[in-house]
Symmetry: C2
Subunit: 447 residues, 2 copies
């Protein structure tokens, strides 16, 4: 698969302090192994999260390096010494990446990613890691919420234009696809990721013609098998009638009509009636315009005859939760546990593993443990992807990840699937981890 | 200046329908000149917007083209014919770009960008245009709101890790800088845009050491002139005392301390006292952690002795307004006006100009006109940047844009500067434009 990320040199896409701290570690000969955990703190807006973006992170970790141009820029800041810049010249990620598979459902406070590497490396990769994983999970989760209420309708990512920049547009297409969407309007995502691409026509297309009928006829004569008529530019019902008129005139089938505004429940029923009465029973009704999981749910519950939704802005910006309270925390350095005491945000120290226990095919309990503990009947959730800087696990295709998501979603207890009520799973800590955490806390408070 | 965007081939970063519509236009020999307007619809969350991102758009328009690889991908979709793909081989943006200068303040419903080009070109560039301009304006506006209440404190963009992907991180650094921020933590933005870069140290740095004092000493011995001590890992007040202890031991000045949690009003006062009592009157107090314009305002009003803020997540995601209700609408095609009637979202047709009238140095009135109208004492707001595909206006440096912003901000009436109360300027339409709009509306309803 063609990879999107590594076409750019992202080594400097990092916070300045990562590099100044690195120089201090370098000068003080402090480059022992560090273990960092990436996790999400609880938020009432989400009962679960869909893990995503791991492949993009892997791609970065396998390719990150500093070019001479980068080194030159750092030199000119006047903040770095020659021997450290020499070190950066040969910088590679030589550590380990443990991660939950993409397409797995995760919960707050679970270590989704665990980096184990010389501390300079583990620190420099922090910024990109959070930058890429946060938006991947945000959109994947929002998309899965849409999927969870969409019944048998098809969902398409229409959000590229409203995503926060080009990279977010690419990630949104990728994350929504693995969360059960059938495709995207983003052509580049089609090329780079092989995601099916979809599109209809724009209002401007209708407006550029003298009238709607002429516009429909022009489009349908070029795409006789593939026209979804946008019917709401002037008057929706009249638009549906014009689509019928043009299809009959050209002797073609109507692939579908798109409603982008107005009272969708009412208009979709009227449109269905007109299409059916005229023998276009296969024509789909596709809906867009400010769609989110709440609107999909309402329309489905009211039996709106809608066959598909284009979900845009609210999906790609994760509008009701535009960021995660997530963190990448040091939990071990040089064999010693580490934790922060400030505020209520206490982190759990030690390199970890985490296990999932199923009962009757449903997720029953998650247990976070020391890395070397085992849990009977528990499925190991953190998998080793990169070992000593090398990829050691075959990456699934996006299609395989998508299938995994849909299987996993079946295993999520119904109570957690609500999009309105907060009901989540809180992972347990193993006894050994609880005891060790308390001991360290006690020790740090005394010191 | 090194440009960030044009290193990547963004031609396919477009919605699929832009290309299928293009093929229809191509086959039907419909490639007359089209005029599109980009504008923002009113939102109660913002009284004004800071225009930003125009240079990034220009960079794209001057460089967009389809590679053989792109053409090959499109061919394989089976949706495009050879003669159209041949057309795409030689595709360039050959039209005109009119835009409001970056660093100007704009209001809802104003045409911020006007594209005039053969309709295929004007349509294909739509997706990138909205994608890049929306996030640029969102962050610039949020940043200016922070600046508006920050008095003389320095503001630094700390948001890279929480931005939606890499491109958003770059745009956030750029947009916040031109809105009055002094710099960014994003090293790549320092290299690419020449924005000053800032950083302190992370909690992990403290935690990797046996104790805070040792961590401080290690950092300060490498950066004796430049250490901002992060003091809240274990106990903030004790952290400040440790910073003082280390500085005295090493015989260095304290550049500053950073507070990242807790009751900032109280802690900043305590920290100031300790620093002053120990002769570190020049040491700055820098605050981060969930900062936004509301928190800055509150701390400033209570006279918290804070010298600077690191603004992250809420800035780069524009958390209280994660997207703009913005649009790119066809207003003229082939010399004829165009407008949409559906919903309440009626657009104003015709190629436009827009003028700003000042009274006593303050923005008094904005008037949107036909392109060829003039307004006495009005300052023309739409400037021609690209003519027939060529750059015809010298682009300002980011520093110049930043200066322009700060001058323009002085011209904004005080009433509009509130971050809590909705009070905005509604642009007027010229009489000629009102009349012409009504006529067209009437004509379309009849037809």
């Amino acid at each position: 698969m063609d990879r999107f990320v590594n076409k750019y040199n992202m080594s400097l896409l990092t916070d300045f302090y990562e590099l100044t701290m690195a120089q201090v570690y370098f000068e003080k000969n402090m480059n022992g192994n560090a273990v960092f955990n990436f996790f999400i703190r609880p938020t009432k807006n989400r009962n679960y999260f869909l893990n995503a973006g791991i492949e993009l992170l892997i791609d970065y970790l396998l390719n990150v390096k500093f070019t001479e141009e980068d080194i030159d820029f750092l030199y000119k800041t006047g903040k770095f010494k020659d021997d450290f810049l020499d070190y950066l010249r040969y910088f590679r990620f030589s550590g380990n990446l443990y991660a939950v598979d993409e397409g797995e459902i995760v919960f707050a406070n679970e270590p989704i990613i665990q980096i184990e590497a010389p501390i300079i490396e583990a620190q420099i990769v922090e910024t990109f890691l959070i930058n890429t994983i946060q938006i991947s999970i945000l959109v994947a989760t929002k998309a899965l919420r849409c999927y969870s209420v969409a019944k048998n309708t098809m969902l398409v990512d229409f959000g590229l234009r409203r995503a926060h920049g080009t990279d977010a547009g690419m990630i949104a297409a990728r994350s929504s696809y693995i969360a059960g969407f059938v495709g995207t309007s983003n052509v580049l995502a089609g090329k780079v990721y092989g995601i099916p691409i979809y599109g209809t026509m724009a209002h401007s297309f209708i407006m550029a013609h003298d009238n709607e009928e002429e516009a429909f006829e022009n489009f349908a004569s070029v795409y006789p098998e593939n026209t979804v008529f946008l019917v709401d530019t002037y008057d929706t019902i009249n638009g549906v009638k014009n689509a019928v008129k043009v299809a009959k005139k050209l002797g073609i089938r109507i692939k579908g009509v798109r409603l982008d505004s107005g009272d969708i429940l009412h208009l979709s029923k009227e449109a269905r009636k007109i299409l059916d009465e005229n023998g276009f029973k296969d024509a789909i009704i596709f809906v867009s315009g400010g769609i989110n999981e709440y609107k999909i749910k309402e329309l489905m519950e009211k039996n709106a005859p809608v066959n598909g939704f284009g979900v845009g802005t609210e999906l790609v910006t994760s509008a009701d939760l535009p960021y995660l309270d997530c963190a990448y925390k040091l939990v071990e350095y040089d064999g010693k546990p580490a934790m922060k005491l400030s505020r209520k945000k206490i982190t759990v120290p030690y390199k970890k593993q985490f296990y999932r226990i199923y009962r009757q095919g449903k997720i029953y309990k998650d247990i976070i443990t020391h890395f070397d503990e085992t849990v009977e009947d528990g499925v190991k959730m953190l998998n080793l992807y990169i070992e000593n800087g090398r990829l050691v696990k075959k990456l699934p295709t996006l299609k395989e990840i998508r299938e995994l998501t849909l299987i996993n979603f079946e295993k999520l207890p119904q109570t957690f699937k609500s999009i309105n009520q907060y009901m989540t799973l809180t992972p347990e800590l193993s006894n050994r981890l609880i005891k060790a955490t308390e001991e360290l806390q006690h020790r740090l408070k005394k010191s």
